[in-house]
Amino acid sequence: MSTGLSSTGMFRAVSLPSDADVVIRAHGVNFAYGVGETRTQVLFDNNLEISKGEVVIMTGPSGSGKSTLLTLIGALRRMQEGELNVLGFNLTTADAGSQVELRKRIGFIFQQHNLFSSLTAIENVRMATALKPGTVKEMNARSIEILTRLGLGDRIRHRPAELSGGQKQRVAIARALVNQPSMVLADEPTASLDPESSQIVLDLLRGLADGPTRTTVLLVTHDQRVIDKADRIVNMIGGRIVTNSLTKVAVRICRALAATESLSGLTEATLSRIANSMTVELREPGETIVTQGEEGDRFYTIGSGVADAYIDGDFDEEKCYGEAFGMITSYFKRPVPATVVARTEMELYVLTKDDFLSALADDQSFETRIRSLLAAANAAAVDG
């Protein structure tokens, strides 16, 4: 994996797999629902590469297009525009038969367990083994083994009505994984699971990715516990992949935001959503980052390094890890309040105006916090 350069000129932590390992390659993928006047485009020029054995989280607000992209990757929809290659299948030209063949190599986990209420747990799992048949003994052994690994060894003869919500979801996961798929596509797989069960499932998925099959796992989730198990986060907004970052960086951003005084008390989910919108910027010592009195269009949070702040040319304060600076003039109606110059090498996490506005729209608690900061700043200005 390497670090890539975004089109805006800022450095981002981007995972770019090597060619040999690429199992998902999307290039210029567009997709629209409806035709004519009712046509609504939901995906715009998306590019993505994911390699064998990667665990990738897809995030984004509702309607951002992540589910549509997932269904295209899973060959559940026909491609309209662009190129998409999954596990060696060219989905741009694939016929229905090829789509079915590809789906047999993918394990699907949906939010709804969709188990047949008429079948027992093992029979539901055996519905999947029929697609990769063996002897009866072998198929049963395979089913029992995966159910047991998911903590359902004593529930294999139970019907869904006799299982809890979490147990049903684990049966559905067992059904998805029993054929040792080359790829797993999962939609909120841990949503209905208790922490312990979630851990078992996440360990299992991570194990598949790290194991000999090097299964690729693509998850849509808002579960922050998953971040620790993932290699990358792909964030989508408005039908576009806006960030495609290593999760270790995302974790660092989250921690830095959590240390930011003005954002203290916000939930982990909110911080994570903000972090997903941020990009990484590296600065050299002596470099002026923002200049007092100018119109600003971004906020900065310091990930590492130290900077000096000056007001009217006089040293005001030292800024270090977790501290924020910058201004979005068009929103706050004020210029940048201080000039900030890097004293050391710095890693800065940047929220641009567009991402800031979108974060406000997506997260009520973030918006409330910003409004209270704005009110406090206005009051201070009046007092001053």
């Binding site: 589910s67 559940l76 709804q112 188990l115 008429s118 939609d187």
Partner: protein
């Protein structure tokens, strides 16, 4: 128990809810019963209309050129029978007189007149292959006697018994014994008497000479091994055109054809069978459609996993076959009970063998499979992409 080679999804889906299964099978059984009964009535009616003809002890018949059904007995002169006897391959020819509309029996207890069908022939000829008639031939050869059909409607005629005395078309008659023949939709009771008695009770059958007697059917017995079609052609060519020569099988087919298609009572019952089929199709469709709808998410998941639409159709069609078979068995059981009850109540020959249970089985399965195929179209809307919504 560990699962076998394949998971019986269709069976499990159908039998998951016992109450729902009961209602589904009851609905299908209702349609099967309807088809059995309608087909039963149709067969019984057609069979009853040829009941007498089937018992003719002969291979060929002469009938009036104008006769279109035995229930409206047009006649021809007796001399045609004499002419037919002259053919070397005809070893016997007997006249049969049928009075279907003008014979009235007075109930000995009620005094009420009831129309009754009267069949007459020379007792010594054993024209009808009915054991009791052959056995007691001397008894009903006596003047003013008749044999009564024990299967006649008892609510109209009471119970016939030997020695019973009453009135037939205004003349005293004594019941010499009983036999079993059966009623039909045109007649609720039957009497058999000698040709001599027939002339006495229905003098309009008589002519100025024996050769002028009005015969309804001439029953011909032919030499064993004779070519019936060739003989029929030769007889038809030799006899005047006021008679038609038919083999017994042709006569039966004509009579059945008339009631089946011309009358058209058979068609009415046939429509009843079709209605039963349609009702059953609607019931099966509702059952299967609602089951598919309830499991749409599950079927969509199977599609996502790599099952083809044809795989899923197969599940629904198997479910339809099971439903058809279960409904058939239940409907068959109900129909057997109803056949017996209707037979007792009406005297119509309703029973299972003559109702061709295999055709009803085929119809029941076809009905459910057709409905299943139509209901399975719902699977098209099982879009796995929606599962990620």
């Amino acid at each position: 128990m560990a699962p076998g080679k394949t998971i019986p999804l269709a069976w499990r889906n159908l039998t998951e809810s016992k109450l729902r299964l009961l209602a589904s099978v009851a609905g299908t059984a209702f349609a099967v019963t309807l088809m059995f009964m309608e087909n039963g009535f149709r067969s019984a009616m057609l069979d009853s209309m040829v009941n007498v003809i089937e018992r003719f002890d002969g291979q060929m018949v002469l009938v009036s050129r104008t006769l279109y059904t035995l229930s409206v007995p047009y006649s021809f002169p007796m001399r045609r029978i004499v002419q037919a006897r002259n053919f070397p391959e005809v070893v016997g020819a007997s006249p049969v007189y049928v009075v279907a509309r003008t014979g009235y029996w007075r109930g000995p207890e009620t005094g009420k007149l009831e129309r009754i069908c009267v069949v007459g022939y020379p007792p010594e000829d054993d024209v009808l292959d009915v054991p009791e008639l052959k056995k007691h031939r001397e008894d009903w050869d006596r003047p003013d006697t008749a044999m009564a059909d024990a299967l006649s409607r008892t609510d109209q005629f009471g119970v016939f018994h030997k020695g019973q005395v009453s009135e037939l078309s205004g003349r005293r008659v004594e019941i010499a014994g009983t036999f079993e023949l059966g009623v039909n939709v045109q007649s609720n009771g039957n009497l058999v008497m000698s040709d001599r008695n027939m002339m006495k009770y229905f003098p309009n059958l008589n002519g100025v000479s024996v050769g002028d007697r009005s015969v309804t059917v001439g029953v011909l017995r032919v030499r064993p091994g004779a070519n019936l079609q060739r003989l029929r052609g030769e007889l038809q060519a030799a006899l005047p055109p006021d008679v038609r020569v038919l083999t017994k099988a042709e006569f039966i087919a004509r009579e059945r054809g008339f009631w089946d298609k011309v009358a058209p009572i058979g068609t009415v019952f046939y429509i009843g069978v079709v209605m039963g089929f349609i009702v059953g199709s609607v019931i099966c469709y509702q059952v299967l459609y609602s089951d598919v709808s309830n499991r749409l998410g599950e079927f969509a998941t199977l599609k996502a996993m790599g099952y083809t639409s044809m795989d899923l159709y197969r599940v629904v069609l198997m479910q339809a076959v099971y439903l058809g078979l279960m409904g058939y068995v239940a409907g068959l059981a109900v129909s057997v009970v109803l056949f017996d009850w209707v037979h007792r109540a009406t005297g119509l020959p309703l029973d299972l063998p003559r109702n061709n249970p295999f055709i009803i089985l085929a119809l029941a399965v076809a009905m459910c499979v057709g409905s299943g195929a139509y209901a399975a179209r719902r699977l098209i809307s099982a879009d796995p992409a929606q599962l990620f919504a």
